[in-house]
């Protein structure tokens, strides 16, 4: 196994970031699964941020969520809501830390890989939506404390579920497309 450096940026990282952000943006705007709580959706886009983060590292994960969220806000509202865009970026960055521990290139995704990925993504969602987003909302817009933490809690839960389900399944399927080490046998 090659030694993985968390913060190295190659051309491939840049391209994966650009295209990943385009998918993130598309899903963020159009592919939302409605949840039982009214007026809220499971954002399938965070599954993409988790998947690309685990595959290409924290820089790619963070930029994908940041760029994708900022551009889709621009396209939908005319201006980004920076507090939530920054929180998205932070969550993507933390998802990307899974890059060092989860190896989908080896041909299969073990239970251990899946558990590590999910622990990291849950921590990322908690930090982003229960710390970063509410604090920025309070600092920038002086929103009421109980409102922003209630919104943050819902967002953390929803995003953790969609990142956990979609991200894990994508990693599992991607791993299956890679060739397993030692999968070729010499025929006697």
């Amino acid at each position: 196994m090659e030694n993985k450096k968390l913060f190295s940026v190659s051309t491939k990282t840049i391209v994966a970031t650009g295209l990943g952000a385009a998918i993130f943006m598309l899903l963020f705007m159009f592919v939302k699964v409605p949840s039982p709580v009214p007026e809220t959706n499971f954002q399938t886009a965070y599954g993409i941020a988790g998947f690309f983060g685990a595959l290409f590292g924290p820089i790619a994960g963070g930029l994908i969520a940041f760029i994708g969220h900022a551009l889709s806000d621009f396209a939908q509202y005319g201006a980004p809501w920076w507090s939530w865009v920054v929180a998205s970026g932070v969550s993507g960055f933390i998802f990307g830390l899974a890059y060092k521990y989860v190896d989908a290139e080896k041909g299969e995704l073990t239970v251990k890989d899946a558990v590590i990925f999910n622990v990291i993504q849950i921590i990322g969602n908690i930090i982003a939506w229960l710390v970063v987003a509410p604090l920025l909302d309070i600092v920038i817009y002086a929103e009421a404390v109980n409102l922003v933490f209630a919104q943050g809690a819902i967002a953390a839960l929803m995003n953790a579920i969609s990142c956990g389900v979609i991200g894990t399944i994508l990693l599992f399927i991607y791993a299956k497309t890679r060739t397993k080490k030692g999968s070729l046998n010499k025929k006697n």
Partner: protein
């Protein structure tokens, strides 16, 4: 899915002629001024200034109708939620209490709460025209040069321009895959059960991701072959040189930014403007 995401069209107005970098710097100055200040006089001032620029740039209402609807929905929801969650927030901030009448229980209408929510709504709303001006008068291929112009690493800026370049392709791929899956009997309508929606979304996302990863390989190989990332700096084909108008625009927005800060520091002695004392 027919949404045209960035409906830039080139026109001959002073705003269109400015460099993308100028517009981005002005956008940042003015939005940061609005985000910092809680003084409704400054916010309304900036709002009128941006509406004037809006008029100068000859943006048609049809270009922004959808955005206006989204923003209005957001503002109304936020207004109602803020009140329901914290009806006394304004009283806490301004330190006085002028009650108009009691609605029910702990929910009463106070002047302070109304003023706080009005200020907050204006704060959200006044950023929108600024963003629209930047978005609709700047050629998307100029975004990257504008981003790297304010000191962001050109590699990150290049990622943004790749996003804009490949968004339509990915949107088309998504539509094709979605049609193909529907032809095979996948129910994409709202009639499908919620538990099936996740699965249905995945059945489109998986082929989309796998084909995109192939594409990442070929694009990054092509870029490597052309020597991308060899040097610390690069130039941009679409970057415009600065002219007199650009310097004036930057000076004006910097002045507005500083004036807003000065108003808070020297006149209000806080980020909030308090008319109740």
């Amino acid at each position: 899915m027919k949404l045209k995401v960035f409906s830039y069209n080139s026109k001959d107005t002073p705003i269109h002629k400015m460099s993308g970098l100028t517009k981005f710097i002005c956008f940042l100055f003015l939005t940061f001024a609005v985000m910092f200040s809680f003084d409704i006089r400054a916010i309304i001032g900036i709002m009128f200034f941006s509406l004037w620029i809006f008029k100068l740039s000859e943006i048609k209402f049809s270009q922004i109708r959808l955005m206006v609807i989204y923003v209005a929905i957001f503002l109304v929801t936020n207004f109602i939620l803020s009140y329901l969650f914290s009806p006394e927030e304004g009283v806490n901030i301004y330190g006085t209490r002028h009650e108009l009448f009691v609605l029910f229980g702990k929910y009463s209408i106070t002047l302070e709460q109304f003023f706080y929510q009005l200020t907050k709504t204006m704060k959200y709303a006044s950023v929108v025209p600024l963003g629209m001006i930047f978005l609709l008068t700047t050629n998307p291929s100029e975004f990257a040069s504008a981003l790297s112009g304010i000191g962001i690493s050109y590699k990150a800026a290049y990622a943004v321009s790749l996003t804009l370049r490949y968004f339509p392709d990915i949107q088309r791929d998504y539509n094709n895959i979605s049609m193909a899956q529907q032809a095979r009997g996948l129910d994409m309508s709202k009639k499908a059960k919620i538990s099936h929606r996740f699965k249905n979304a995945l059945l489109i996302i998986i082929p989309l991701i796998l084909s995109t990863l192939e594409r990442v390989n070929s694009i990054s190989n092509a870029m490597d072959l052309r020597g991308f990332g060899k040097h610390k700096k690069r130039t941009w084909y679409t970057g415009k040189p600065f002219e007199r108008l650009d310097w004036i625009a930057i000076a004006v927005s910097a002045a507005i930014f500083l004036a807003t800060i000065a108003l808070s520091v020297f006149v209000n002695h806080s980020r909030f403007y308090n008319p109740f004392i």
